[in-house]
């Protein structure tokens, strides 16, 4: 491939790269929603001292996952 062709393809590669990162971030966000749901369900089934802390962690993780989407979409 000559340098001219590479320059022509590069924008498309960058778009593909960004799309891949955003897609991964979105999938990760969906997964983190499932984690929140699951921790809540587990906590309802078994109640113990630290359940609220665990639920808190799962929500914190959800916030970070949402932040990752924003970062990949606007920051890249």
């Amino acid at each position: 491939m000559n340098p001219l062709d590479l320059a022509q393809v590069m924008p498309y590669l960058l778009i593909a790269q960004k799309t891949f990162f955003v897609l991964c971030a979105v999938l990760y966000f969906v997964f983190s929603v499932v984690v929140v749901k699951q921790v809540t369900t587990m906590s309802k089934n078994i109640r113990d001292k630290f359940n609220s802390i665990l639920i808190g962690f799962s929500y914190l993780h959800l916030v970070f996952a949402a932040g990752l989407i924003l970062l990949t979409y606007f920051g890249l």
């Binding site: 990760y28 699951q38 309802k44 089934n45 078994i46 109640r47 970062l71």
Partner: protein, 242 residues
């Protein structure tokens, strides 16, 4: 469900260490404090002092061997049922994933040293590392949850096994103390022998004919406790209870 209120107020586990103090165990069961409810429901028999002596005492809330936990409950518990022992796999079973998580923390460092992500623009490299740290966190978090919510319980009425496999499947298994036929234990390996944990196999005459408490601490004590509870249940069933 009013379970935690009952245990917090009338079933403290502090005084049962020696099992010899007069105010300790038999009088602290829900039935003993609430005679009217005991009359209403004779199905649940309060364990004797001997049971509490076998159980001993747990001081740490992080323990895998929680004796009469104050703030602990499960959704399928009956109102008059008392949790005598709540078990989780021994803490040592967590060591492997903790070490893995620590190793995962250093992976981005290796990547930067050997420049594995050099083909990506710097912003992509940073996002990749951030993503990796989130994956590391969720790996450790899920492993912890699997341990934390993998609970075995012995109540004054039955044995219960609650397990959440891979976060999405819940398994609930129980067996009445009456239907337990045989209890055996196995302590395997160097770690099991050193830290005194192993499997307790409970065979029953019920539909669920086998329950296994996996990698739980003090298996011999659990066997002793179950034997005592079964004996008391039989005694109670024969009308020998005062």
């Amino acid at each position: 469900m009013n379970r935690s209120r009952d245990l917090d107020t009338i079933a403290p586990d502090d005084p049962i260490e020696n099992g010899s103090t007069s105010e300790s165990t038999p009088t602290s069961s829900p039935e003993a404090k609430t005679p009217s409810s005991a009359k209403a429901n004779t199905h649940f028999s309060p364990p004797t002092e001997e049971v509490y002596t076998i159980l001993g005492h747990t001081s740490s809330p992080f323990s895998s061997f929680l004796v009469r936990p104050k703030v602990f409950d499960f959704s399928e518990r009956d109102n008059d049922e008392e949790i005598l022992l709540a078990l989780r796999p021994h803490w040592f079973t967590n060591v492997s994933w903790i070490l893995t998580a620590i190793a995962m923390l250093f992976v981005p460092l290796l990547f930067s040293i050997f420049d594995f992500l050099g083909f990506l623009p710097i912003r992509y490299q940073m996002v990749s590392m951030l993503f990796w740290y989130l994956v590391t966190f969720i790996f450790a978090f899920e492993k912890f949850l699997s341990w934390y919510f993998d609970v075995y319980m012995i109540t004054n009425e039955r044995v219960v096994d609650i397990d959440f496999n891979n976060m999405l499947n819940k398994k609930f298994a129980e067996a009445d103390l009456d239907v337990i036929q045989d209890v055996s234990s196995s302590v395997k390996g160097l770690a099991g022998t050193m830290f005194n944990y192993g499997n307790v196999l409970i065979q029953t005459a019920a539909e669920q004919n086998e329950l296994t408490f996996e990698k739980v601490p003090n298996p011999e004590r659990i066997i002793k406790l179950l034997a005592q509870l079964r004996e008391e249940k039989e005694h109670h069933a024969l009308g020998g209870k005062q």
